[in-house]
Symmetry: C2
Subunit: 257 residues, 2 copies
């Protein structure tokens, strides 16, 4: 029987700037007597990665520029927040109806460039940014788990993003190590021998979404989820680590920019 | 420890037009000695629902009209397929670069209105459409499981959709019974007591995505996945069944139509 298990790693303590998150993940796994095996995935909520790495900013220290003030007025947002969002972004995609959607410098298109106010817990004006390099964050945790348990696990950093066309945020992968985040079904025959020509599946986003169900939107209560049973493969030797980049749609192929 | 388990229901036989799918799901659960409990979810791949209900069409019998021929020429697709897509749709959203994205009559915006060629297995020109009423399909399975096991499970019909901005298809929910597909975090305090103001989470899409990891894109090999451990609640008494409708973004709030 094909079975997968998602386990919220218990008793993860409060994370703050300077926390050694890879070491903390290993320690929590050991305390809970959870032993990862090769092919497992660890999904870590963006919020704790950002806090551990100090990717936070106190809005009281932010002086909004003219662009931020103009946009903030249009969509009725805190101009200091808009200033931070613009600094994190390469482009404004939509700014209307109270919503600010930008292209983050990492290439993701999402609301507020991932800048978020909830569950930071460092003061009423402190917001979190996305990690500077979520793929590197994932690699760091992957290497710590390899060193501790001698196993090759995939590590995903997840965040909750809203989406065009559909209501509700869902967990998505914003950083990855140790797996191909998008698998190709191109040319693979279907059950009846027809050749499937165009399909790809964003398995990293599906794993990220599954883990979000256990993390809740908060992330911090149980920010780390161990996923067992999917037999995830690391990228082929020599192919190198692409991180989460394959999840970003090539602008030339995106009909909704 | 918070834990969720996804189990691909084994030995689901070939489904064809006329198969009593609710009865088949119950029989397969019994054969595998899988006993669902209240709060579990069953995720059933759209393809087997469509086949069981006869939502299939032989393209050799389709005569494309002028709109279909014109669009097919533009995007280099089979005009008979385009004709079927248009019949299933209320509106063309994008038709460019080889891609046809429409608003399905059920309100979902997706490629080819969900009309699909793979894993139908009824001849080279037979394609599947989305079920006529996927919420009703879900309700039928939910009631059969309730009658057989005296439990209240959520039932989701899932399909794989591509998305703006991100590469790769992911599993999404196109039909639902027995749960609120979008939960609101609005006004719920975060871990530190701040009030979260705007968040909603599309848990039905997250469950659908998780199940897709076990189904693969094919769906037919292991089209039914039992999800245990998430303690999903049915809609509040009196609220009635909204099905998957809450997952469709109100056009007035969709910035990417």
């Amino acid at each position: 029987v094909t079975q997968a298990t998602l386990t919220a790693v218990p008793s993860v303590p409060e994370v703050g700037p300077g926390t050694d998150l890879p070491a903390l993940v290993v320690r929590c796994l050991r305390t809970a007597e959870l032993v990862p095996v090769s092919g497992d995935a660890l999904v870590v909520a963006q919020k704790v990665v950002s806090k551990a790495e100090g990717s936070i900013i106190d809005l009281t220290a932010v002086r909004p520029g003219p662009d931020a003030r103009r946009i903030a007025e249009t969509i009725d947002k805190d101009p200091r927040l808009v200033e931070v969002v613009l600094r994190e972004s390469t482009r404004v995609v939509r700014a209307q109806r109270g919503v600010l959607i930008t292209e983050h410098r990492l290439g993701f298109i999402c609301a507020n460039a991932g800048v978020d106010h909830s569950n930071v817990g460092l003061g009423p004006d402190v917001v979190s940014l996305l990690p500077r390099d979520p793929d590197a964050s994932a690699r760091g945790i992957r290497e710590a788990v390899r060193a501790a348990f001698d196993v090759s696990v995939a590590v995903l950093i997840n965040d909750s993003h809203g989406r065009p066309h559909r209501e509700g945020a869902v967990g998505v992968c914003i950083g990855a190590a140790g797996l191909d985040p998008v698998i190709s079904l191109v040319g693979r025959p279907d059950l009846y021998g027809y050749t499937m020509r165009t399909s790809t599946e964003a398995i990293a986003d599906e794993v990220a979404a599954a883990a979000t169900l256990l993390q809740g939107q908060c992330g911090e209560g149980t920010p780390v989820v161990l996923v067992h049973g999917l037999a995830l493969s690391p990228p082929a030797a020599g192919a190198g680590e692409a991180g989460a980049a394959p999840l970003r749609r090539d602008p030339a192929r995106d009909l909704f920019r």
